[in-house]
Each structure stands twice: as structure tokens, then as C-alpha cells.
């Protein structure tokens, strides 16, 4: 029987699907027309016009899809799976963008959108290159548009459609509530994951995806160059795009790091998580590509490497999409997407463009112009080339380890990722960073073609010795003087050297000419990023060491890092030079905020409040409860505070008079145990029990345990829990000390030794609320953030300079 459902907005889905088909067909038309236009090499502009028209159709389709989806999200059309899955009526409207791209389909749309925007800019700026470049862009768009189709071809599902009705999703189709024609009246969406309800989720994905999208432009130019056999000309327009992409992708990645540091409990800004790695790797090759392009523009060398790095960067973006979206990282990553059954499609996509690149390079390789002379070892291009290669090797190491799950899949092997990933990557990448920083330092002092050695040495000597002095000072200040720290001291020197050398190049050689200073400024920024990460990572100190008097020896020598501290409400503990107090919590929506005060002592020994932090725990039924840290920022250091455990059981607070079993103890006469508000002493067993009081017969046996309890004010109380044996049954009788909220029940007697096994109960009101805290001081992390900013500024300057050159 067909049900006529009430209140569904079927027109919205139909509109959306129309736009999906429109965008797909437009891309198809555009790619074909541009292809024919480019292949025929005639000045027949009608094909070009058709190509443009196709792209406009595609663009209106993409905008139509986005508009429809937004309309549906805004108006809460929960009959649609995507709307139901990612939004609800309670959610603040400012998170509507986050809802839009929380799901896979939405993030593909975001990616498609940026490609489309870049495509438009190319149509108006690429001039002679428009035909081949746009043919590639449109081809990519065909693949991306197909990701949203959601149609079955020969039983294989192509794409995942965001306009699918909830009742058409196989997992839901048979649920009883969908048999009700009026199901919509009661339906609310599942809502945006609270973890993602913050401003980072609004700014990080669009930036990162613009970075992803921007790798397409140099790729398209490179393919166009191979296609039209113009092996050099493409780099001129591609170079500013490459710098732009490096800047945006870099910013996107660092935003992810900042998000992890500020709001997630990674305990640092970089955890070598597979998903982080997957976007870092194409950035590294992209930076390599940008530098070899500069070499080629100046000297006409390293053509093959330029092609390879430019093409591989885009392929790596596709590969990273595959890694994060195919569910293959399932066991090894914190934030991989779920598999939507599109991994096969992504793989086809990846292999198509990989093959395209390989075939085109293979065909043309013989025709690449060969430079007559080799570059001199004392030339800038030689060392830039070495730098690009070092970055490539670094990228290779990261992607190889990150790909372990893929390797397992292909060879059905059973390798697990390194048990200590941070150490694994750092031990390799520290040396990469050292070499890169040294190259950055000396690079600009070399001239293109040939450098006069004595001039070079003279100019660089100042920076070199300056860096040695600063490194020496920093080593002492940071207390790095030990054998284990040698790699860090070397990295410290090289990053300081990179900063000093580039700054002095800017001042003494460029004479402060801002126009030409892009490279110097960006390199100073990069050096600062290295320096900041080095200081904050190597000198980060967990201050929440255990000071609560609990014995940690039993943890064993393998686990010296007991990094959590217990804070009972209103108690003050000393922690890393501060005195911390936990004042209580308050609940706001899904969040429970914990108020923690940091005090320090002034000269007179008086406590002065320095600052208050409010880390929170988020009650999150979808992902499990999540703790979000709070951080106090100072110029020189950050104090990161994170609730690692808190009792979320509200029952206890509601029933303060109820007893809760605190512990089971076995005591010999004279032994003591600690209660939460008292000291409990077992004085011994007493056979002198008033049997009538317990309704015991003459033959029954009864023994009382004589307990003495002393509270903090030194008041003494007694309790006599009784253990009786009535014929063959053991029956204990509890005894309470109501003033202290204590209760004792004997569970076993050990007559030979006079020992007794007791259960100690305490009232819920006795058990004070507590939280467990982890606090870390990160020194120098602001150097890192300042470095990011400076690097972006430098890249903008470089783009401006290159744009002027290419016009």
C-alpha cells in the first residue's frame, strides 16, 4: 500500500536533483567543447564560447545545488536525510554553514564550489591558455559533480546524493515511524555534532578546501603545457597560483592545528594524525613545486621535476581525499569520515589523473629541452633544487607511514602503525627541518648561476655567528644542555640561523625594499614556525604532576608520566608554581563548565588570583562525551588545562543521604584507614555482644568489631558492627556513625589472626565532588603563530611580485 505522506517538500529535492544533473551536464559540455577547441588549434571561437557556456551552466548548477541545500537546512526539511542528519531545530543559526559541510556530500560541494570560482577567474585571466586549462578544470568538475549523482549504473552506485529522502535511505526505509503518513510532524533532526559547534568549524573547512582547490590550477597548467607542448610558458601564469595555493593550504592546515590545540584534547597543535598528515604532504610537495618553478623561470633547469611535483601535488590531494573518506583509516585516525561506498569511485578518479600525468610526461619527455650546462654547485638554483628534493623525501616518509592501512589492504598484511607515532615522525623530520632551515638561511645569499665565494662568506658570516650566539643563549635559557637534546640544539641553531639570515638579507641586501622581500619575509616566518614548534614541543611541561600524596611508585618504571592531578572541590593544591582551586561547575546546554582558579603567592605570602580557566566537558551522545580544554595565553607561554575525568553521575547529587560503598578493607587490630572526613581505627574484636539487642538465640555466635573514628576536629566516635552466625547462616549487622555519614558492615572474620574484612560505606554527601585535571605549559607557542602570520604576509608579497612580472 502506498502511503501519502503529509507535509513533505518534494519539490525541493526535485529542484536539487535538477541542479545536480545540470552541473554534471554543464561540466561535460564544457570539457568536451574546450577539448575540441584546444585540439583543433583553429581560431574557431565558437567552440570556445560553447566551452564557456558549458562552464556557466555547470556553475549555475553548482550554485543551484548549494542554494537548494541551504534553503532546505534553513527551513528544516527533515524529510531529507542530509538535513535530518546534520541539523535540528535547536541549533543556533550561526552554525548553518558548519551543518552544510559537516557531511561528505556538503564537503564535496564546498570543494566543487571553489574549483568553480577558480575556473571563473581562469576564464577571464588565462588568455591563450584558457582552452587547455579549462578543459582540465572541467574534466575534474565532471568527476566531482558525479560524486553527488547518487545513481546506480550496472549495480554500482555512483556518488552520494544530498537530496535523498529519509524514507528512501535503506537503513530507514522500514522503520515503523516512517509508516506513519504524518511522521514529519514529530520529526526533529539529529543535529550538528556539538563537538563541531564552534567557529573553527566555520572557518577551517572553507580555507582548507580552497587550499585543496588551488592545487588544481598549477596542475591544469602543467597538463596544458604538456598537451600543447609548450613546456616553459605555462609556468609564468602558474607561479602566482602556486604561491597562492601554498599560502592558503598552509593556512588551512595550521588552522586545523590551532583548532586541535584550542578546542580538542590533542594536548598540542600537531599530533601526526593521519588526517593531518594527509593534507601536510601535498603542501610539502606544493612548496617544492613552487621553488623548482622559480628555478626554471630563472635558469630553465629541472623541467621534469617541476612537472612531476606540480602533478603529484594534485594527485596527493586526491589521495588524501581517498584516505580520509574511504574509511580505510578507521583504526588509526581520530577524525576520518565514514565510508559512503565511494572509495572505488575515488580510486578511479585518482588513477585517471595519475595516468593522465604519467602518460603525458612519458610522451613528451624526449622533447624536453635539455640545458647545455649543469648548474654550478655554488648557485642558488642548485640549493633550491636540493631543498625541493629534501621536502619531497620528507613528504614520502610521512605518506609512507600514513599509508600503512592501505598497504595492509593491498598486500593483506597485518602491520600496525608505529606505537609512538610522534617519536617516529619526529626522529626523521627533525633532520629534514634542520636541512631545510639551513638551506633557507643560506639560499638567498647564493646568486643565480654563480656565486663569488668570498663575497658569499663575508655576507653570511655575520648571520652565522649571530645565530651561534643566540642559540647559545637560548640553549642555556631553555636548559637544553644534555646529550639527548643534541638534535634539538642543532634544530634550534638552524631555525635561528634561518630567521637571522633572512632578516639580515632583507635589511642589508634588499635595503628594506618591501616589493622584493616576499621570499625573505616568508622564510623568516617559516623559521619562526620551526623555532616555535621546537620550543613549545620540547619544553612543554606537564605541571599537573601528582601532588595529592598518592603513591605513584606502584605504577612501575615504564610509566613515569603520571600526568593527572585530582582536585577536590574547594581544596587547593600546588601545581607547577601555582596554587589551583576547583570552585565548582555549572551546566549550560550540553556543556558542563568547571571553574578553576590559579593563584600565586606574593612577597608577603598572600595568595593572589592570577587567572581563572573554564575547561568544559561536553555531553555528546553521538560521539561520546568530550572534554574541551581551556588555555590561558601569555605572551611567552600558554597554560593549557584539560579535565580528563569528572564524575558525571548526577544521581549522587540528588540523593545526598544515600550510602555508597566506598571500599572493602581487611584490617588487623590497630590498623587504620582513611575515610573522606575521618580516620578509622580498628581496635579489635569483642565477643561481648548483647545478644538480645539483635534477637539472637543463646546458641548463636556473635562478635563485634570495635571501631574508633576520629574526625578532622579530633572528635572521637565509636561504632560496633556485629557479625553473627545463626545456626549455619552468617548474618552481619551494620553500624552507623550518623554524624560522619559512615556505615560499616563486616563481611568476613579471620579468627586465627583476629583480622576482619569490612565494607565501609559513606553517604553521598561525604564524597566531595572532584575533577581530574591535566595541565601543560607550552612556552613560546606564540612564536609559532606569529611565524604563521609572517609567512602568509611574505607569500602575499611574493604573489604580488610574480603577478607584476607575469603581466
Amino acid at each position: 500500500m502506498d502511503i501519502t505522506y503529509v507535509g513533505e517538500h518534494l519539490w525541493a529535492g526535485n529542484t536539487g536533483n535538477f541542479f545536480i544533473v545540470l552541473s554534471f551536464c554543464g561540466a561535460l559540455l564544457s570539457a568536451l567543447s574546450y577539448f575540441i577547441f584546444t585540439q583543433n588549434e583553429i581560431q574557431n571561437t565558437s567552440w570556445k564560447s560553447l566551452g564557456r557556456a558549458g562552464f556557466f551552466i555547470h556553475a549555475s548548477g553548482v550554485l543551484g545545488i548549494i542554494g537548494t541545500l541551504f534553503y532546505m537546512l534553513l527551513n528544516h526539511f527533515f524529510e531529507y536525510h542530509y538535513v535530518w542528519q546534520h541539523s535540528n531545530t535547536e541549533m543556533p543559526m550561526r552554525y548553518i554553514l558548519s551543518c552544510f559541510w559537516e557531511g561528505q556530500e556538503g564537503s564535496f560541494l564546498l570543494w566543487t564550489f571553489w574549483h568553480m570560482v577558480l575556473g571563473f577567474i581562469l576564464i577571464f585571466t588565462a588568455k591563450n591558455w584558457e582552452g587547455p586549462v579549462m578543459a582540465v578544470v572541467a574534466l575534474v568538475q565532471i568527476f566531482l559533480a558525479s560524486m553527488l549523482l547518487g545513481v546506480y549504473v550496472f549495480g554500482y552506485k555512483i556518488g552520494s546524493n544530498p537530496f535523498l529522502l529519509l524514507r528512501d535511505v535503506p537503513d530507514f526505509a522500514n522503520l515503523p515511524f516512517l509508516q506513519n503518513e504524518n511522521y514529519l510532524a514529530k520529526l526533529d533532526g539529529r543535529g550538528l555534532n556539538p563537538l563541531l559547534q564552534n567557529y573553527w568549524m566555520t572557518i577551517h573547512p572553507p580555507t582548507l578546501f580552497l587550499g585543496f582547490a588551488s592545487t588544481l590550477v598549477p596542475f591544469a597548467y602543467a597538463i596544458a603545457g604538456l598537451w600543447k607542448k609548450d613546456f616553459n610558458g605555462w609556468m609564468k601564469p602558474a607561479l602566482p597560483w602556486t604561491f597562492f595555493g601554498v599560502m592558503i593550504l598552509g593556512t588551512g592546515i595550521l588552522m586545523g592545528g590551532a583548532w586541535a590545540y584550542e578546542a580538542l584534547s590533542f594536548g598540542g597543535f600537531w599530533a601526526w594524525d593521519p588526517v593531518e598528515n594527509a593534507s601536510l604532504v601535498p603542501w610539502l610537495t606544493f612548496v617544492g613545486a613552487a621553488h623548482v618553478m622559480v628555478i626554471h623561470r630563472n635558469k630553465g633547469q629541472s623541467l621534469l621535476v617541476t612537472f612531476v611535483l606540480t602533478i603529484i601535488t594534485f594527485i596527493l590531494i586526491l589521495y588524501s581525499t581517498f584516505l580520509t573518506r574511504s574509511g580505510i583509516l578507521g583504526d588509526s585516525s581520530v577524525h576520518a569520515f565514514t565510508d559512503l561506498g565511494m572509495s572505488g569511485q575515488l580510486l578511479v578518479y585518482l588513477l585517471t589523473f595519475l595516468l593522465l600525468g604519467i602518460v603525458l610526461i612519458a610522451i613528451n619527455w624526449k622533447h624536453f629541452p635539455k640545458p647545455e650546462t649543469e648548474e654550478s654547485v655554488w648557485s642558488r638554483e642548485f640549493w633550491m633544487f636540493v631543498g625541493a628534493m629534501v621536502l619531497s623525501v620528507s613528504a614520502f616518509q610521512i605518506i609512507f607511514t600514513t599509508s600503512i592501512p592501505v598497504i595492509n589492504k593491498i598486500f593483506s598484511s597485518n602491520i600496525a602503525p608505529p606505537t609512538n607515532p610522534i617519536q617516529h615522525y619526529n626522529s626523521f623530520q627533525v633532520w629534514v627541518a634542520v636541512i631545510v632551515a639551513l638551506l633557507i638561511g643560506v639560499g638567498q645569499y647564493f646568486k643565480f648561476k654563480k656565486t663569488e665565494m668570498n663575497v658569499f662568506l663575508k655576507t653570511i658570516a655575520v648571520s652565522f655567528f649571530g645565530a651561534i650566539v643566540i642559540t647559545g643563549l637560548l640553549t642555556i635559557i631553555l636548559d637544553l644542555l644534555s646529550v639527548q637534546q643534541i638534535p634539538y640544539i642543532i634544530l634550534l641553531f638552524s631555525s635561528v640561523f634561518a630567521i637571522v639570515a633572512n632578516a639580515s638579507y632583507f635589511i642589508s641586501i634588499l635595503k628594506g625594499k618591501v616589493k622584493l622581500s616576499g621570499a625573505s619575509v616568508a622564510h623568516v616566518g617559516f623559521g619562526m614556525i620551526l623555532l616555535g614548534s621546537l620550543i613549545s614541543m620540547s619544553k612543554s611541561e606537564v605541571i599537573s604532576r601528582n601532588t595529592s600524596g598518592v603513591d605513584l611508585q606502584k605504577l612501575g618504571e615504564d610509566f613515569p608520566n603520571a600526568e593527572n592531578i585530582m582536585l577536590v572541590k574547594n581544596d587547593t593544591l600546588s601545581m607547577g608554581g601555582w596554587f589551583v582551586t576547583y570552585n565548582g561547575k555549572k551546566k549550560e546546554g550540553v556543556n558542563i563548565f568547571y571553574e578553576i582558579d590559579y593563584f600565586s603567592k606574593d612577597e608577603n605570602g598572600k595568595y593572589v588570583k592570577d587567572f581563572t580557566l573554564n575547561p568544559r566537558v561536553q555531553i555528546n551522545p553521538r560521539m561520546g562525551n568530550v572534554a574541551e580544554p581551556a588555555t590561558k595565553h601569555y605572551l611567552g607561554k600558554d597554560i593549557y588545562t584539560h579535565v580528563t575525568y569528572a564524575e558525571l553521575d548526577e544521581e549522587k547529587e540528588k540523593k545526598p543521604e544515600e550510602f555508597k560503598k566506598a571500599r572493602t578493607v581487611t584490617l588487623a587490630p590497630g590498623d587504620t584507614v582513611f575515610g573522606s572526613n575521618s580516620i578509622i581505627i580498628f581496635e579489635g574484636l569483642d565477643k561481648n555482644v548483647d545478644k538480645t539487642k539483635y534477637n539472637l538465640g543463646e546458641k548463636d555466635i556473635a562478635v563485634a568489631a570495635q571501631m574508633r573514628v576520629v574526625d578532622i576536629k579530633n572528635n572521637s566516635f565509636t561504632a560496633r558492627p556485629v557479625y553473627s552466625i545463626q545456626s549455619v547462616y552468617a548474618v552481619p549487622f551494620a553500624d552507623e556513625i550518623s554524624e560522619l555519614g559512615l556505615k560499616f558492615i563486616i563481611t568476613k572474620l579471620i579468627p586465627e589472626s583476629g583480622k576482619v574484612e569490612l565494607e565501609v560505606y559513606e553517604k553521598n554527601s561525604n564524597l566531595k565532588e572532584f575533577i581530574i585535571l591535566k595541565a601543560i605549559v607550552f612556552p613560546g607557542i606564540n612564536i609559532l603563530w606569529a611565524g604563521c602570520l609572517i609567512m602568509v604576509i611574505g607569500t602575499v608579497l611574493a604573489i604580488r611580485h610574480r603577478l607584476k612580472q607575469s603581466n
Binding site: V386, P417, F559, N625
Partner: protein, 134 residues
């Protein structure tokens, strides 16, 4: 020999070095039995939480000790000691991946990765994990 060839050789050598360090640093997915045979070595053990057995976390006594029982993929149940705080919502975990080594008193885990089922997906586990690390 051209300089580009020298560079190429060095790069290939370093790349092979990178592969070797990865292989050297990599661990293996193993059962408790295998981990017990090589008790000094770190392994990844995949399993399910034994929800009926005791989950002990007494922060008043020791903030940094959490013990529970895990059934590995071979069905063997072992006590696990994790020297950190109890991960939030641990009871709800569907699948647990431990990283650590076997000792006499149980499996000493230094990392716990857990997968939680979603309330909404009719018991289908959601592919998100909590990483708890010391």
C-alpha cells in the same frame, strides 16, 4: 657523473632509509597470546570490552590507574591496566584498540583507541574514536 645523478642516488638512499625506519618502528596487530610470548615488545591488540567484568577506576586512590577486562579477537580475556584516567564513556565502546605490552599482572596499555556505537544508527558503530594517551 652528473650532479643530478648524485642527488638522485642520495634521495633514493634516504627514501629507502625512510621505508626501513617505518618498518622498524611499526607494530603488529596481535592477540594477547602473541603479546604474552614477547612480553617486552609493544603490540596493537584489538578486542571488545568485557562489559560484565569489573571496570575499576578509583581516582581517590590512584588517579592514573584504570583497569578493565578485554576479550581479544581470539576470544581470550585478559586484565588490562591503563595508566591514565578512565576515558569518558568507555562503557559504551564497541571496539577497543590497545597499544602496549604484556606484563605479569596484565596487559599494560599506554594508548586506548575506542570506537563508539551511535545512538541513532541502529547499532551501527560510528567511525569515530577517542584517543586517550598518557
Amino acid at each position: 657523473m652528473k650532479k643530478s645523478h648524485i642527488i638522485a642516488i642520495i634521495i633514493i638512499a634516504v627514501a629507502i632509509g625512510a621505508i626501513l625506519t617505518t618498518v622498524g618502528d611499526s607494530s603488529t596487530y596481535a592477540s594477547f597470546a602473541v603479546a604474552a610470548e614477547n612480553s617486552g615488545k609493544e603490540y596493537h591488540v584489538v578486542g571488545k570490552l568485557e562489559k560484565d567484568s569489573a571496570l575499576i577506576y578509583n581516582p581517590q586512590e590512584n588517579v592514573n590507574l584504570f583497569t578493565f577486562y578485554l576479550k581479544d579477537t581470539d576470544g581470550a580475556v585478559k586484565k588490562v591496566l591503563y595508566h591514565g584516567t578512565k576515558p569518558q564513556d568507555f562503557e559504551r565502546s564497541e571496539q577497543v584498540v590497545l597499544v602496549g605490552k604484556m606484563k605479569e599482572d596484565g596487559f599494560q596499555a599506554n594508548t586506548i583507541l575506542m570506537k563508539c556505537p551511535s545512538k541513532y544508527n541502529e547499532g551501527k558503530p560510528e567511525e569515530t574514536e577517542h584517543k586517550a594517551q598518557i
